[in-house]
């Protein structure tokens, strides 16, 4: 006998997720009563730890990276990639909501987080990060709305949405540009390009996508590109604390490139996992195409990393045995070398299972990379070394578990994959 709640099968897995989510919630409440010190090992020398590495850096890279890839494929890859877009919008949207939840735990005084909207300081990378979060979450919410309209058959609202969202997206982009530059000429230049594009679409000079306004997709791609790179910019501020192995002036670029590579892997993992859970056929041929892209993406990221290390002359530091160099080699082996070997071996490259293994390794490699930048690579001169406390990990695990549950509930009740089915039927 199977019990279902909100159309989700209740089994061992879902129960475990609920338990983890509940534990995370209790720990988070404990933190709000007794302070961050009570639930974490963060100290005066290590103000950032597991939460920044896992929730902020890795979480955002995985949530948005996938969307950048899907958005690009949607814009340039043609109609056949459409089935992959909706699930990635949902994961990105949920990912951002989870990330905001995690941020509310990590930030000391979350009730004053709105101060970012009134006290502008565009010199600060953190200001850019905060604004990207606000703007991009809004865009993702807008992009997710059609699923809701379809579910409740709100064609009228859908039509209004199609008309209105391009302007909302342009307004958000222009506001963002103003907040970051305080310069009327930049705002004008960016605004003119965007408005011109939208007008050309409306007058039929450029193809009009019947389901998703292209400007909205563009805004999504632009905000996530900016957000990924700004997370790298955060660490440009710490040449004195971050190990040379990871500190590079092109850190923003490397964060972006590695997030896109992991994003390709995310598309494969998401499509395979949801196909398995919902008992649908995975789009195997489509995924093999993506696997081919993944191979190039890993290669590109690796080339950038290697070139950067050589040009900065860090080679010898990698051969000295230290926690940092060991962490680096694990990251490179798991995230780059082994998946590349798998994808370059024809027998493995054609198997959906090995494709999944390689993708998961790329994702783990990205998480390791972000952890290394945020935690392992940081040295503080006066303070005892930091190791995450179990409660820190518990809170993060709880938030992720809550997110997976929300994903299951939404996918079981809203037509996230429905358009894919319709599309397959057409073909």
């Amino acid at each position: 006998m199977t019990i279902t709640v909100a159309n989700v099968r209740i089994g061992f897995g879902t129960l475990l997720l609920m338990l983890l989510a509940a534990l995370g919630f209790v720990l988070a409440m404990y933190r709000f009563l007794f302070g961050i010190g009570a639930v974490s090992n963060l100290n005066q020398g290590y103000p950032w730890g597991f939460w920044i590495g896992a929730d902020v850096l890795a979480g955002i890279a995985l949530a948005a990276g996938g969307f950048v890839v899907a958005g690009l494929m949607h814009m340039f890859g043609g109609e056949k990639y459409h089935p992959l877009v909706r699930p990635t919008i949902l994961t990105a949207f949920l990912g951002y909501l989870l990330f905001i939840a995690a941020l509310l735990v990590d930030v000391g005084r979350p009730w004053s987080i709105w101060h970012m909207m009134i006290y502008w300081h565009h010199e600060s990378p953190m200001f850019e990060v905060g604004w990207c979060v606000m703007m991009y979450t809004t865009i993702l919410f807008l992009e997710f709305l059609p699923v809701v309209f379809e579910r409740f058959r709100l064609e009228y609202l859908y039509a209004i949405w199609l008309n209105l969202t391009p302007w909302v997206a342009i307004a958000l982009l222009v506001t963002f540009a103003f907040a970051m530059t305080h310069s009327a000429s930049w705002v004008l230049a960016i605004g003119v390009v965007l408005v011109a594009f939208e007008l050309l679409v409306r007058f039929g000079a450029i193809h009009r996508d019947p389901r998703m306004p292209t400007v909205v997709l563009m805004a999504g791609i632009m905000f996530s590109v900016l957000h990924q790179s700004s997370l790298g910019s955060l660490f440009l501020m710490v040449p004195h604390k971050l190990s040379h192995i990871w500190y590079s002036p092109i850190l923003p670029l490397m964060f972006l490139v590695s997030a896109v590579a992991a994003g390709v892997a995310m598309v494969i993992v998401e499509a395979t996992a949801s196909a398995w859970y919902f008992g649908r056929e995975a789009e195997v041929r489509l995924l093999q195409d993506v696997g081919h892209v993944l191979c190039w993406a890993i290669f590109g990221t690796l080339a950038l990393r290697a070139g950067d290390l050589v040009l900065r002359g860090v080679g010898t530091e990698l051969l000295v045995i230290s926690p940092q160099s060991i962490a680096f080699w694990i990251e490179i082996l798991v995230g780059f070398v082994i998946p590349l070997a798998i994808l370059l071996t024809p027998v493995f490259a054609e198997s959906a299972r090995w494709l999944l293994v390689a993708s998961i390794m790329v994702i783990v490699g990205l998480v390791l990379n972000r952890m290394n930048v945020a935690v392992v690579g940081i040295t503080a001169p006066y303070s005892p070394t930091y190791y995450p406390f179990w409660m820190e990990v518990g809170i993060t695990t709880g938030i992720v578990a809550g997110g997976v549950l929300a994903y299951l509930v939404i996918c079981s009740n809203f037509p996230v994959f429905a358009s894919a089915r319709a599309h397959n039927a057409e073909a």
């Binding site: 103000p47 950032w48 000391g108 004053s112 953190m126």
Partner: protein, 266 residues
């Protein structure tokens, strides 16, 4: 307005910690329960904290073949272009024209980026509070505004802490180093560290022996993030153009089909 500064002449320090006590009294900071710790250093308390903004460090240093206590001082360095202020997303940290770096607690959101950005590991966070703030030395900005000198400088009985204009203090530090051969190492800590600071130290032993942070860039911290921040509008404009134009080119055929379909409908 002239930039004010403090000159810390470490060889003159006797380790009486009058400055530490004066600071605590003036700002009504609580006393801390301390325990022995395994070093390095033998100061009490062991480190700066939300309750301790000014700390005399006790360091065992080999001088002329035998161990001696040599004192150091830790407090906010009041950088000329402070990394903490550049890092803060809500401008909760402000560099005053006359030198002090001030913290406006009502703006703070508690992100702790200032702590990461500070090369001297100075800002402290109230980890034990449900409503935590950052706290650090203010260089007694309010006392200066009232015509007084910082509490630590006022309390120092040996003249190890001098308050004055930064330019004059740099000249004074150079004079002391030049006119006392062998007494000082040739280094004014704070002259160029992090682009220059408003707290200048001179010492009889190398600063690394006093556990001063040596891995400090000689440029302001903001110099490292500035290029990335300035690239934002260029990235936006470039992406908007490339994505827009690329999409227009990529979908030419579909547009033509769409037009044909529209025409057929009519």
């Amino acid at each position: 307005m002239a930039i004010k500064a403090l000159l810390i002449d470490l060889p003159r320090c006797t380790g009486c910690r009058g400055c530490q006590v004066a600071c605590k009294q003036w700002y009504k900071r609580r006393a801390e329960k301390t325990t022995f710790f395994a070093g390095p250093g033998y100061q009490n308390p062991a480190d700066l904290s939300p309750q301790t903004w000014c700390l005399v460090t006790y360091n065992e240093v080999i001088v002329n073949g035998r161990y001696e206590w040599v004192f150091g001082k830790r407090q906010c360095m009041h950088c000329l272009v402070p990394g903490c202020a550049s890092a803060c997303p809500v401008k909760a940290l402000e560099k005053l024209e006359n030198g002090p770096v001030l913290y406006h607690r009502e703006k703070c959101i508690g992100c702790r980026y200032c702590m990461l950005a500070c090369p001297f590991e100075v800002p402290r966070f109230e980890y034990e509070s449900w409503n935590p703030y950052i706290s650090k030395c203010t260089m007694c900005a309010a006392r200066i505004a009232g015509g007084q000198i910082p509490a630590c400088a006022q309390a120092c009985p040996t003249g190890a802490i001098t308050f004055g204009e930064r330019d004059a203090l740099i000249r004074e530090a150079e004079r002391r180093i030049a006119s006392n051969p062998g007494k000082y190492v040739h280094h004014i800590y704070g002259l160029s560290e992090a682009g220059g600071t408003c707290v200048l130290h001179i010492s009889s032993v190398p600063f690394e022996d006093l556990r001063y942070v040596m891995r400090v860039p000689r440029t302001p911290m903001v110099a490292h993030t500035e290029p990335a921040m300035q690239a934002i509008p260029m990235v936006m404009l470039g992406l908007a153009t490339i994505l827009g134009a690329g999409y227009a080119l990529r979908t030419r055929k579909q547009r033509n089909n769409q037009r044909a379909a529209d025409a057929a409908e009519k």
